[in-house]
Symmetry: C2
Subunit: 320 residues, 2 copies
């Protein structure tokens, strides 16, 4: 089953969200508009908007209100990607040049700031203090996660706990917030939006672990960037941590530094793939997926719930 088929009933509303994204990104400054459009056209799964809309369906769903929340969440995500690419010195994302590659680091810094600011502006149109508080707290945590990612680069003495804390901040919290804020803005009762938060949180962990696996197991074409990019950029992900349990592989991994070339990294990628680390990482991802389903299970049956369950399962198994 294709990803989009799981929520085909949202198609029209997601188109509305997409138009709103385009509108929001337009700026009086042509450079910013270009940069924003360049990002939008690179596509992406729009997972955060999907979660926002589906969560809102547990309450008073109104596309004209909820589209703003969906766009705001996607913009925060896009802003963090733009700043991430500066940190990672990344040239390519989703098969397209990054902002920092097409323009430069300074433009990328301010494009990120601008997207972020526009998302805030949109959020303030929704008069819901709880939604504002959840989001601002999430943004602080996302920033902390980014700083940790810088500090942890090429730092091989990491634990599973360090990794988990990082992906929590990097991915899980924003997906959890997407679910919760979507629900809160649709006046979903407290008890339910908290469950949606935890559903999103565990789906987010699972999603990021699979993402980190795919960095090794996918092809360059599927990834839209070179295989092993994370490792080359010094980001120590779960498959790497597991593979390093073998002292011989660890010895080769810790040689990798800022000057390692994509060619030099190829045999190490094979080592990691053959070490059992991929399978082990999938198991962990699956464990979080099961946890997420426990929370969604406690919510009333409806097509939104069915769609969230399908998406969660898809995320845990996706191949790219």
């Amino acid at each position: 089953m294709k990803f989009k088929a799981m929520y085909s009933f949202l198609e029209q509303d997601l188109n509305i969200v997409e138009r709103e994204l385009e509108k929001t990104i337009q700026s009086t400054d042509p450079l910013l508009s270009d940069a924003g459009l360049h990002l939008l056209q690179a596509g992406g799964k729009r997972i955060r908007p999907v979660f926002v809309l589906l969560s809102a369906m547990f309450g008073k769903y109104d596309i004209n209100t909820i589209k703003k929340v969906a766009v705001a969440l996607e913009l925060i995500h896009m802003a963090s990607l733009v700043h991430d690419d500066v940190i990672d010195d990344a040239e390519i994302r989703r098969g397209r040049e990054t902002i920092k590659a097409k323009w430069d680091n300074l433009i990328a810094m301010y494009t990120g700031d601008y997207l972020f600011a526009r998302s805030l502006q949109l959020i303030t149109e929704i008069e819901n203090p709880l939604a504002h508080q959840i989001l601002s707290k999430t943004i602080v945590e996302v920033c902390l996660g980014e700083i940790e990612q810088i500090k942890d680069k090429f730092h091989y003495e990491q634990t599973y706990k360090t990794y988990l804390k990082r992906i929590k901040r990097k991915t899980a919290l924003l997906i959890a917030a997407s679910c919760q804020v979507g629900a809160v803005c649709a006046e979903v009762p407290d008890e339910w939006h908290k469950k949606l938060y935890w559903f999103g949180y565990y789906v987010g962990l699972s999603f990021q672990i699979v993402d980190d696996i795919l960095d090794f197991t996918s092809t360059e074409k599927e990834l839209g960037k070179p295989v092993g990019s994370d490792l080359l950029q010094g980001n120590i992900t779960l498959p790497v941590l597991f593979a390093m349990k073998d002292p011989a592989i660890k010895q080769r991994i810790i040689q990798i530094n800022e000057n390692t070339t994509p060619e030099e990294i190829k045999p190490v990628i094979d080592d990691i793939k053959n070490s059992g680390a991929i399978e082990h990482s999938f198991e962990i991802s699956n464990r979080y997926l099961m946890k997420s389903l426990q929370f969604i299970d406690q919510l009333p049956k409806c097509k939104a719930r069915t769609a969230l369950m399908k998406i969660a399962k898809y995320i845990g198994k996706r191949k790219f």
Copy 2:
């Protein structure tokens, strides 16, 4: 009369704001806490908090609420300075190493993001939709201003209008917002907080023009950075625009580029100082100052009004 003497009755409350700033900047991440503290210790006039508190005095003044607004505005300002230093490749600000110099550009990018996020978090504690809307709109404009500043660097065919638009976004809007949001959060009536906005707006223009003048007329010790830094960084300010009306001076100015040294720029600074451009710039600053006083004049007499008037006049005449 010294700056602080104009609002000595605020001393205790400004200390509360300073403690709140220190508290807010603390992070679970030691690097971020260090970077934030480094910025705080560099000092600064805390003009935005002063304007927030004074404006709030026209309504229901409560330091426990209003301190959050004051801290949020100062944090937004600090965040923009940190990102500015990346753009300007600045090593020194307020006599101290910049974040980008002491650490690096990436740390500076995320320190800015973090300060910004913390300021938002504080703002969301104040349940006032109008305050949120004013602030988020201001932040968008500040971002647009920063992008313009990048694009206008070493671009000598600028007009007075371009300059004005830039300093409006760079400085005036945030000071205007400080005055208005301070008032809005103290339930100051519509008619008054709009006047406070315009007061802050014109004071902000005047303030920035004087700042741009001082870059030429002050000493390195007073500025806490080399004389002529703006010009060296390619920022074309009002004294430069006026001095370029003399074709001979213009000819020398337009030679300045990314590779010009501080030594090479010295004779050009003298040219600008002897051209009458400084006096002309002061006239313009003074014109905006007078406009600001027209707005404050329409507000009820009280010690906050007297203090705002004194501060405005001081800003127009300050020597550093």
